[in-house]
Subunit: 165 residues, 4 copies
């Protein structure tokens, strides 16, 4: 039966704080029995979240922009090789029941916008006031704010209860 | 020889003011001998810009998200049928030498982010302070602000002179 | 109003005979007032067909697999930059009213299969008995055989009369 | 660490013989500890192979052409939602270490061609003489023939030993 997939989006070049947050987030996602989905690269938030999930024995999926698995995070179990470049960002969010943005960059901003465009719920984790205001102005009803991993997980549980199977 | 393609991105549900702006923008793009590229649908900014370009005898390209040409703007000369859904947004910006955002919505926000991610110059035309600040915070060196069509066209000319062939 | 787009698919490494055929085909397509669509690269059938169309004053579109216009045929007027790799093959055929295969290779074989899968009519131009038999066995009603350019053009006209606007 | 993913491609409308073959193939893939990848739909070869893999306790991935999980096989663990239509066929083969074609149709033919174009090894399982000849004529060095599931599994093992990590 289809497993619940939670997507964590974040930049390849992350601050140490964002990486730590991503690691804890990945770990909590795995502890809840959900599959972790990221952009799959051995960099920043993608790698940290995947390592966190593996530390808790979870299953990790990485949707790669490239045409082979070069540069993949070692913590990714199932690589999806797309050769789509940044167009793969739309797949990242479509394949996630809930999208969590951890850290911000141009790729992440495109993923938040695409997720909301595709009617996906998005949790903005520890984002700046500017980021929260911008996305709230475009889709206030599907944007959720969390100030730490615990709050984000509570929100995921709440959202999953509301999504029809 | 390859023609210069200028992309105009904007929501399918546009305000009358945005539609007028898009019409004038499309017209000016055609008057300068550039090809107009939009998302191709018979709605909002896409349709208005295409109609403006045709009024000035220009050539118009529409990159459609769907699997056929149903719902295409009658002012599109060359339809590119992608069946990619919102993943086609990445093609819109990659195929444009310069991207101009006219009006704002989730699709347009994703296109601005994807354009900047792909190192494309983006002109924000008559956007809110919040929108300008958000994208400036992510890529200050490739974001240009214009308050009317004339200013946007001057910026396009300036940017084209700087882009290597 | 939407122009009629005819797609010519063929390998980047073409025999001199295939290139000559592609050149004549591109020329005839332009002489009939149709837009020529190819894979856009400066190689083989794509380049030859585009040069033929330009020699007759036609309009040429090239749907590129890469993330920029490096390697584009100089005879392409409108480059569509996809960064989709071989997934762009599906766009080539979806964007064409009729698909003509000139020369054969793995990319071309995928385009013929995808065209037929998407219910597009396909003309096999001077193909081997094996190729004709294979595709006829999968979709006999949408596969047309032509032994020269003249026959292919007659078939395009016949097919266009049957396609609803 | 990255798991070994084996792709089984086959039509949504399969003969009972092809479905039985696909079921046995999925089962054997799981028994060997490999992840099964299919097109994910609750139809034909995709569904049968996934059910076989689950019967042996394996992990199954389904790369869907649609924008949500409607029509997904209940035997798919991890759905990848692409909204790419038939362009997703390129992802199916890029994400597989080895591609096995079981049954034949237009989608499957495009996947075999795309796999070979992307330099992937392809096993043609119980295909007709015509199909084998056609693909052998285009890429003789990467096309393998198997007359039953056992032979196919032996070939997969042999190919995996030759692929660099």
């Amino acid at each position: 039966m289809t497993k619940v997939v939670i997507g964590v989006m974040g930049a390849g070049s992350a601050t140490p704080e964002d990486s730590l947050l991503a690691y804890q987030l990945g770990k909590s996602i795995a502890e809840n029995g959900w599959v972790l989905l990221t952009g799959g690269r051995k960099a920043g938030v993608m790698d940290a979240a995947s390592r966190g999930a593996k530390a808790a024995g979870g299953l990790t999926v990485g949707i790669l922009p490239s045409s082979d698995t070069t540069g993949i995070s070692e913590a990714v179990d199932v690589p999806i090789v797309t050769d789509l470049g940044n167009a793969r960002n739309n797949l990242n969010v479509l394949s996630s029941k809930v999208v969590i943005a951890c850290g911000m960059g141009l790729g992440t901003a495109s993923e938040v916008a695409l997720a909301l465009k595709n009617d996906k719920p998005v949790i903005l984790l520890k984002q700046t006031e500017l980021t929260c205001q911008f996305f709230k102005s475009l889709a206030s009803d599907r944007v959720y704010l969390a100030s730490d991993v615990e709050e984000a997980i509570v929100l995921v549980k709440k959202i999953l209860r509301q999504i029809p199977e």
